[in-house]
Amino acid sequence: MNRKIIASMAVVAVLLVTAVSIPMPSEASGGTDVLLDWGNGSVEWAEGDGRTVADVIGDALVGLGVEFEDGPDGITVGGTSQVTIGSDDTGGSLTQSGSTGNSVTTYWHAYVWNGASWTEVSDLDASADGSALALGFYPNGVAPVATPDEPYAMIMSRGDSANTGSSDATYSSDKEYEMTWSDSGTAHATTLYAGGYVFQKYGIDSSGEARLVCIDASTGPTYDEDGNKKYVWEFVFRSGANYESSTPLIVGDYIYVGTMTGYLYRIPLYEGPGENYENVVSIGGTGYSDAPKVENRMEGFEVGYTYDSGFSSMVYDSGAIYVTHSNGMVYCFDLDLNLIWSYELDGSTYLVSPTVYDGYVFVPVLNGKLYVLGAADGSYLVDTTVAQYEYMNKKYGGVGQVAVQSAGEGSYTLYFTFSDGRGMSQLNCGLAVYEFSTAHSKYELNERYRNEDLGDLGRYVLPVDTPEFRGAYLFISPDTGTNLYRIDASGNLELITEGLAEIHSPPVLVNGQYIYAVSYSSADPIYQISLDGTILGVASCPSEVRNFNMIPLLVLGDTVFGGTDSGIYRFDGAFLPYVETTPVQSQPVIFVIAEIIGAILVALAAVYAILRYKGHEKPFSYLKSSFVHYLYGEDQSHNTRNRHRLKFVVIVGAVFTFAAFTLCLCIGSTSIQNPVEAYSALFSAISKGGVGLDTLETTIYVSRLPRTIAALAVGIGLSVAGCVYQAIIRNPLVDPYIMGVSSGAGVAAIAVIAFDFTFFGLFSSHSVFLTAITACVGGLIAFGCTMLLAEKAGGSAINYVLSGVVIGLAFSAVQTIMLTMAGNKLSNALYWLYGSFAEVTWSQVWIIVALSVFLSLVPLIWAKELNLVLLGEDQARQMGLNVRRFNRWMLILASILTSVCVAFCGVIGFVGLVIPHLCRMLLGSDHRMVLPASICFGGVMLMLADLLARTGYYGMELPVGAITTVIGIPVFAYLLIKRGRMYDG
């Protein structure tokens, strides 16, 4: 799917790995377990029988098909008895190519397991007592990391010095995988494993500190009583970099770590750095505080974009550590960090470890070249330019990590990807196969295959060498999807599996059978894929450590370690069988409705049964007649009937409000939840205080809830305002905007939206309240004008109507002119005028609620007076009411209420006109009932209207004012036909 991206994983990730794990020695057959450690990360277990140590080892190695000889000059395995790295001093240093005169020689050693550690066996003719034996290729004093107790180890970024990314493991569990523990941190370096401990380098935290931690693999980090996290040990260092993406290295009893700031340290593996880091050794045997910094001066050559700088991941082979640095140097150190040789390239290198194979060091460089050096002395053998692209008169290029396969007769097949080396910005990617030939000490690199039209490529390819196939597997993202391909030495590219999720992590190969790859997004699966492309199993990244996944899995049989930007985790158990993914089904509306109807039917049946049981012949007619009697019974007093009706209205209103509210939370344009899900997401969001929400919680708490509450409040406000206006003005056509409030607010809002009016500089132009407050003030100014005019004209209700209409028209005219001049901001202005809850956020909700709900309560207190006014001014006056004063104050109240509603949501019509009428038709004209009913139904109507506005037309916000009209008209028309004859407003 993504070209840049997969390539960019390289930028960030770097590293990585594989689990070099080994089949657990079998208990059954009775032979002695023998470990063959090639001294480059690659190990094998076998069993042997015999009387002496030499016999047992010899027997075991026969099983592995490896030659073994115990001669007078020492042990020879596979034709090799010793290797010396280093040569005469030619002035090599951290900044200058050459050898330093240091050297290290590696021999084959035999070891016997004493129950706690490997002990070297000097006499191979000693009799074997059944204890496990090992044969390891190490300098004196160094023993293998793998042991009979912990046969699995993972000691460098891709498992071995050849960067194969392959490992072995045993699978015994059928139990579905579960997370055992997790730990937080930024994991961009590969997770390492030795002796039952996990070693992880984490990138910087908020204080700028990065760390290397040792974690007990079975328990994870522990916590003390105060909840502070405890590692077995941790080594904290300052890092100025974005990421700490190069992987440390484990050899013998030490772990080596290079930093992105240019330091290299050696730390005792299980003891840790000690107090004040006294156990830490740096380059040249210096202590922690005197550690030399290897500077990142990238002078004299053109470099691509390095997202990071510092030391690359390291590999260990035959007694020496090989590492590159973004300063363009390749270094070879001994195990005490004394420099053996160095070589200066003409370009920067980029955090991936060099590949060391058969005494050759393959170094990809960030100027598009590939170098081959001699591993023993750092001598230059050959280089070639793989990919160079010109950009702004500079040349860029980048070569990915090299996978090597021997082709016999001193020639090797190299597989790698390349790019223009511009990190995140890279534009070109390709795949290449080269042949490296060494015949007659003449070194040559020849291109055998090249393809730049494949799409995005990762930095890592996975060499695979099985009887069926010899070549490399790799993930490629063409325009859509990510696919798994393989390519052989002849350049036959074959598509194996397509349609995977985006993958950035380097793939790993387990048992020569399974490829494991982690999707970049935590929402996508972790794959287990067979070499024929079948997806065998999937797992999901645990919710504790989400996004993004760039490091490879560490597979130790049924135990799997993974890591993301936010931490590492351990799984135990088998992956789930892969099922073709289908989009997550949210509950269809029809089910929600069916559930509700079902519940109602059950309730009705229950009521029926109970009433039948109590002896009523026709339970439903009985219910109906007693209900009608309750509300309309002529034998009850007027007040009792009204009280009953009020109760009924309030109960029904509350139920409706709750139902509409729930519906609004459950239904949205992306998904539909059932009420239980919706409310549980809501409560969990509230308990989190609205911070760190997951997608569903965000949808419900941030997207749906505020506008639903606002719709409820505005619905209440507009209905009450409409009710009051209609009562005072005694005209059925009156709506809350009759006083010109909407036009005034509109003028003010357009002034803000289209003409950047900032209230004379009182507010910054980005203030969330600017439009709202200006609109509110605009509405009140318009009302002020209306009132002034009406009072001058005598202050009667009809004066108010006429003044309101005139003032409203005046402001509308101004509004129209402003719209004409609004130019390309016209649509913005119209959008506001149409009215919408789309822009309501939590910052405004409580203001709307406080004002509109409280102001709406006041008319309830004066319901009786409103009834009087309805009788006509004269009559009301006769009843002792100061009509003028009452009217004036009520109009002011209703106008403020309207202004507030308009201010935040724009002009929403119809609700204020129709809801009061609806309530009057249903309940008569008594405001003691009409007002509470308006409160209930106004809110319901506007909530439902908003629901339709945001879901009605896929993903588009419709103007809510239009929706209220559309859904309101049929109801109104029905009631008008039914009740219109006896209704006079």
Partner: protein, 452 residues
């Protein structure tokens, strides 16, 4: 309860409501501008180096600069007065000098500060060490909402809320990271098709994006267009939910369009690709301008740009994208006394008497019949112009009309079409009077700048 008591209660309720509302309002802290932790070294021409740095560790701006230079291996020279005279070999020269420019929180304006540079870096939204010519300003460093454009982690799931932004993302080779677009985004075609298939989510219309649909795509970053108010509000809402959102500038002229491309590229760390698009655009427009002002091209052309051939049409005043492009190509917009799109009275048209008329319309298609119909049925006022009399009425429709209304990476192509209309003498190919979906076939200088 007597009346008095009821009045008291009523007033009390109103007061409680107001007090609660004021309390709720005062609790709202306006979304604070995120401060990017680091500093910019700006070599001009949008060549910048961003350095991440924990600001609290650097007491003064100068400390921060020294760190940045050290970190990037750049040389730096400071004179006795504490002024910067050189960074990375770029030495102060006539008119162009190194200086410290900052943007204060809540502002979009650059302010230049003077040596000694002992200001606290934490006081500013962003600080930029810029090599700037007299009278010019540093490379854009904040988006239209005042948020820094630097310091973002990599972005791999982007949502575009406008067709122009979708085009920008495609042009910087980031089409693959698009996970959501507005319903108007129809270029490049592959994006439109992916949206149709559902591979890319549609997150609402251009004018009305949906918060729920946007968050449903789980984006790393959302790009919005400040010319839409709903976008401005959406950016606030998204940031409140901890989703990175970037508000682009209204693309009213070439500079701000290029700034937008630069911002998009910088935010998602595709700055090199963005730079490439920008350089190519300047390169093409530079060539076009040179041609347009060459002696062969003749004098400045009086131009009218109109939306639809109405009697009293909406025409482009100054400050629109099309007008500013045309201005660079040796032409004079006859309606430049107004700003933006204006609805002009019909008798202004013969009065201004343009030499050429460009009609941008979605009502017509690019066929000879439709053009003839349009041309022959133009209102009388239009016919009373030199443009009509000499047959110099051009119709830009279909896909070309979309391009004309989007501030995006195809600016150079639009400019070439306009240049060909204005000065046909200097071009080998002749552009027809109606330009539609097939506009690319007429292009020569900018033909490679398609992102479809």
């Amino acid at each position: 309860m007597d009346d008095r008591a009821r009045v008291t209660v009523s007033v009390a309720i109103v007061l409680v409501g107001i007090v609660l509302a004021v309390a709720a309002g005062s609790l709202v802290t306006e979304a604070e501008t995120d401060q990017a932790q680091g500093t910019v070294i700006d070599f001009g021409d949008r060549e910048t180096i961003w350095t991440d740095a924990e600001l609290s560790q650097y007491g003064t701006e100068l400390d921060l600069l020294m760190f940045a230079c050290d970190h990037n291996g750049l040389s730096i020279t400071i004179d006795d007065d504490g002024r910067i005279t050189e960074i990375d070999g770029i030495i102060n020269a006539d008119g162009s000098e190194w200086g410290l420019w900052v943007i204060y929180p809540g502002s979009l304006e650059w302010v230049e500060l003077d040596a000694p540079y002992d200001q606290n870096p934490s006081d500013f939204t962003i600080s930029s060490w810029s090599y700037v010519a007299e009278g010019e300003e540093p490379t854009v460093a904040v988006d239209y909402s005042g948020n820094p454009i630097y310091g973002y982690q990599q972005k791999l799931r982007a949502v575009s809320l406008s067709p122009s932004i979708t085009e920008i993302l495609a042009s910087v080779k980031a089409e693959n990271i698009i996970v959501g677009v507005d319903s108007y985004s129809d270029y490049p075609k592959s994006v439109a098709e992916a949206a149709q298939r559902g591979d890319i989510a549609t997150v609402g219309s251009y004018s009305g994006p949906s918060f729920e649909l946007i968050t449903g795509t789980n984006p790393d970053v959302v790009f919005a267009d400040s010319s839409q108010r709903s976008h401005t509000v959406m950016v606030e809402q998204l940031r409140d939910s901890d989703i990175d959102a970037v508000l682009l500038y209204p693309g009213e002229d070439l500079e701000s369009i290029m700034d937008n491309i630069f911002i998009v590229g910088t935010v998602i760390n595709y700055e090199l690709a963005a730079k490439e698009v920008i350089d190519e655009t300047y390169d093409v427009i530079g060539q076009l301008a040179e041609l347009s002002y060459s002696p062969v091209a003749g004098p400045s052309v009086d131009l009218m740009i109109s939306l639809e051939p109405d009697i009293s049409p909406w025409v482009s005043g100054a400050g629109t994208y099309l007008s500013s492009i045309a201005q660079m190509l040796n032409s004079n917009n006859v309606f430049s006394e107004w700003g933006g799109w204006v609805h002009v009275t019909s008798d202004r048209i013969p009065y201004e008497n343009p030499d050429k008329i460009i009609i941008v319309t979605s009502e017509y298609s690019a066929t000879q019949e439709e053009y003839d119909y349009l041309y022959n049925n133009l209102p009388a006022q239009w016919k009373d112009t030199d443009a009509w009399r000499s047959g110099e009425v051009y119709v830009i429709c279909e896909g070309a009309a979309d391009m004309a209304q989007r501030f995006g990476p195809r600016t150079a192509q639009m400019a070439e079409l306009v240049a060909m209309i204005l000065h046909p003498e200097v071009f080998d190919t002749e552009v027809p009077k109606f330009i539609g979906d097939g506009y690319e076939q007429y292009l020569n200088y900018s033909s490679y700048m398609s992102y479809d």
